[in-house]
């Protein structure tokens, strides 16, 4: 139990007069069933979990793709001249971005897109677009 004098210390005289008038509770709840939360409910969460798992799997296969012999051979320091070293750093940075692409897509869409249907559509698009073809082609 808190001491009522503690709460008094956080209020000012006249606060009650400034407060918005309280609305009476509605007698009938006319909201449609399942329209309560923006996340879209249990099915949406399930799909979200599946797509998150797909993003993690794709990232794992992209890591494998980046280390694939043929692809790795396209990143080299060459003769070691400054220009070649800059090119090497930029190419490695590109590989890192490619590896991070599925997770970055998932996190950004989850963070920035508010509409549940659009969010799921964009996550599905990302899962399709970022299939790690280099690893799949090597396995095939």
């Amino acid at each position: 139990m808190t001491d009522p004098t503690d709460e008094d210390a956080l209020s000012w005289d006249g606060d009650d007069a400034l407060a918005a008038p309280k609305r009476p509770a509605p007698l009938i709840d006319d909201r449609p069933a399942g329209a309560g939360r923006a996340s879209g409910g249990g099915f949406s969460l399930l799909v979200l979990g599946v797509l998150g798992g797909v993003a993690v799997l794709e990232t794992a296969f992209w890591i494998r793709s980046a280390f694939d012999l043929q692809i790795a051979a396209s990143v080299s320091t060459g003769g070691g001249t400054p220009v070649e070293l800059i090119a090497f750093v930029l190419n490695v940075a590109g590989r890192v971005l490619a590896v991070l692409a599925p997770v970055v897509w998932f996190v950004l869409v989850l963070w920035r897109v508010r509409v549940p249907s659009r969010r799921l559509a964009l996550l599905a698009l990302g899962a399709l677009l970022l299939v790690p073809w280099p690893a799949i082609l090597v396995a095939a």
Partner: protein
């Protein structure tokens, strides 16, 4: 309605242009790599006394198109958002472009022996 009106104050517009140009450099580096790839394979085919097949041309040209389309899509989809949102859309476009370019390269390397 002018772009300056729809996109906010001129300072914000300038920041958007700066962000778009900064990312353009990264996308242009990808274009440079794809064009280099095309030139190298053209030279290789010439040395071998052959010509690139239509499939090889299409795959190599797709490699050039990927970063161009990704940057344009990022600018179009992100320009109406906040500065942070605009930058994040371009980061996403760059990541996706890098992944798609690697896929294109892997596809080219895997099919080139059959061409």
């Amino acid at each position: 309605m002018s772009a300056a009106v729809t996109l906010g104050p001129p300072r914000r517009l300038g920041a958007r242009i700066a962000i778009a140009l900064l990312f353009l450099l990264a996308f242009l580096w990808q274009v440079y790599g794809a064009v280099s790839n095309l030139v190298v394979w053209l030279g290789f085919a010439r040395v071998m006394g052959q010509q690139l097949t239509a499939t090889a041309w299409v795959v190599l040209l797709i490699g050039i198109a990927i970063p161009v389309v990704a940057w344009a899509a990022g600018v179009v989809l992100g320009v109406r958002r906040s500065l942070l949102g605009f930058a994040l859309v371009l980061v996403l476009a760059l990541c996706a472009s890098q992944a798609l370019s690697l896929s294109q390269l892997a596809f080219f390397l895997s099919v080139i022996g059959a061409l």
